[in-house]
């Protein structure tokens, strides 16, 4: 079973965003970076599949040179190798990103049985790169998968839409996008981290395309709350809260 996981380096913002002076980007001077939870689940799923069935797990990302940090930390939980399609640091639009990923996947000798993606990227959330890759490679795609099992070359997938669980079956090779909750991603072990330093990362230069979905500027969405009214400290404030619950109609 040869598995490929596509992931994206994103800033990890806490409770507010600061923008750069030109409002085109998030000011990341004081931020750490990571990947989307969905993509952490995708890597964990890939590691588990290779543990069960043998084979290989490859990571693929398009991003700045610094994205090596995210590749290393995911290599530490069990992937075999990684490919970094280096940009100058700017965001690529979904069509440009998908085309670059497709070029890189086609250039591989391995014919991956399974391509795993996050359901959507944490920052730009375009909901489409995986679908574009699937079409270009003529592979079926199931999205938003919350639980999956692979047996005899068929992936049995379940996704949740509202309160309904939808069941899908798809023959490999296929593309599957997963959601947070698929599994509990493991933490890298110390030996895992040490091995990850020696695992190969191929650096490649992707071909840029003219963006069709062109980011012009960003703005921080306004919060609609004026902030909390403090009812008091500790158990002494409980009667005040009971009163609030009466006022808003929760208690009779």
């Amino acid at each position: 079973m040869d598995v490929l996981v596509c992931l994206k380096r994103v800033p990890l913002a806490g409770s507010t965003f600061l923008l750069t002076p030109d409002s085109r980007d998030i000011d990341t001077k004081h931020l750490g970076f990571g990947i989307s939870p969905h993509e952490e689940n995708a890597v964990e799923a890939g590691v588990q599949l290779v543990e069960q069935m043998g084979g290989s797990l490859t990571l693929l990302t398009l991003g700045p040179t610094d994205a090596e940090e995210q590749l290393r930390s995911q290599l530490a939980i069990g992937a075999s190798r990684a490919i970094l399609l280096e940009t100058e640091g700017e965001d690529w639009d979904p069509q440009g990103t998908a085309a670059a990923l497709v070029d890189a996947i086609r250039a591989e000798e391995t014919n991956f049985d399974l391509l795993l993606f996050g359901a959507e990227s944490a920052d730009s959330a375009g909901y489409q790169i995986h679908i574009r890759v699937a079409h270009a490679l003529s592979r079926p795609i199931v999205t938003n998968v919350k639980s999956m099992r692979i047996e005899n070359g068929i992936a049995h997938c379940e996704r949740v839409v509202g309160t309904v669980r939808e069941l899908y079956e798809v023959q490999l090779p296929a593309v599957i996008t997963v959601r947070d909750g698929l599994n509990i991603p493991r933490y890298p072990s110390v030996p895992g981290r040490i091995q990850a330093r020696k695992k190969p990362i191929d650096h490649k230069k992707p071909t840029p395309r003219v963006p069709k979905l062109e980011k012009v500027s960003l703005s921080v969405a306004p919060s609609n709350s004026a902030g909390a009214e403090v009812l008091g400290n500790g158990v002494e404030a409980v009667p005040a809260l009971v009163e609030v619950l009466r006022t808003i109609g929760i208690l009779a």
Binding site: S36, A125, V242
Partner: protein, 324 residues
């Protein structure tokens, strides 16, 4: 003309599609709706009421349930024939998915989760959209360079508004040409309710939610007791699900469930924006936190500064006392 994909599950309307229809009416008086699969034909009345003049129904012997790639193919063929200026759908997992198939087949850009759309007024000039990033904590103004705009509508940015005195939409049926590859992925069955019975997170009127501050799985017993007393249910933060203290079905936030209860009690939750993204539509948010500077204070209505392990049992006891 604006074409709106109206989504349905075996004939049952996705209400978010009505918001997409309302958005379409702000762009043009000529709005057509399209449903994929004959089971959607029964929606002519309601889509008419929300402003669609025509309902196109894609019928095909194989289109008996949700088949996203086939939806994309059918939409592409309809677009070819009708030549609309935009194709819209709800910003839902299904809406985004079917539009992404359409955009891929036509090799055009797609703008997901738009809160505002301005169509280009001169040929060759781009369309302008405002779209959500980071679970709508950041908004992006973007240009879409293509004649046809393909965009999904951010769930809560438009209220569905009926047109007074509107007529039923005229039904026009068409049979798309589908290839075997379009039919490879489809819903093969349903697993029923995703919750184990009782109140589901998405519909609960009261949610008592716990974060890292709860300290471990055992600590959730007191949250459960309070939730039950208020006829609500328990929620939690991602730290809690990652640690395996609670099942993921209870996670509120960007990658969990988005909730909108009358009352959301956040106990031991700091208020990372990815958590807030899931609970900010609650009517009233009450915080119980030891830290008066916790970011969640900025989003809440009321707060008690204190240890949840003391405050929650005391609150439960006080509420029980009112019920005697």
């Amino acid at each position: 003309m604006i074409l709106v994909l109206v989504d349905h599950d075996l004939g049952e309307l996705d209400p978010l599609s009505l918001r997409a229809l309302t958005c379409a009416r702000t762009l043009s008086d000529a709005v057509h709706a399209v449903v994929i699969g004959g089971a959607g034909a029964g929606l002519a009345g309601v889509v008419g009421e929300y402003g669609a003049n025509v309902l196109h129904v894609a019928t095909h012997p194989e289109l008996t349930d949700y088949t996203p790639a086939a939806s994309g193919r059918a939409l592409a063929q309809l677009v070819d024939r009708l030549n609309p200026s935009a194709v819209l759908a709800a910003g839902s997992p299904r809406g985004n998915e079917q539009l992404a198939h359409l955009a891929t087949i036509l090799d055009l850009p797609m703008a997901a989760e738009c809160s505002a759309i301005t169509l280009s007024t001169s040929p060759g000039a781009p369309h302008s959209v405002t779209r959500a990033r980071w679970a709508a904590n950041l908004m992006e103004d973007a240009h879409v360079h293509s004649d046809l705009l393909i965009a999904s509508v951010l769930a809560f940015s438009f209220e569905a508004q009926p047109v007074v005195g509107a007529a039923e939409a005229k039904v026009e049926t068409f049979e798309p040409l589908l290839e075997p590859a379009d039919l490879m992925v489809r819903v093969m069955g349903r697993g029923g309710e995703s919750s184990k019975g009782g109140v589901t997170l998405a519909d609960a009127k009261v949610i008592v939610s716990g974060g890292r501050g709860v300290g471990g799985p055992a600590g959730f017993a007191q949250l459960e007791e309070l939730a039950e007393l208020l006829e609500g249910t328990v929620g939690c933060s991602r730290v809690v699900t990652s640690a395996g203290w609670r099942p993921h079905a209870e996670q509120v936030g960007q990658t969990g469930t988005k909730v909108a209860p009358d009352l959301y009690i956040a106990a031991g939750i700091s208020g990372a924006m990815q958590h807030i993204a899931g609970c900010k539509n609650s009517k009233t948010i009450v915080v119980i936190n030891t830290d008066p500077e916790a970011p969640i204070m900025a989003y809440a209505d009321y707060a008690i500064i204190g240890d949840l392990h003391q405050v929650i049992p005391a609150l439960t006891a006080a509420i029980k006392a009112t019920k005697i």
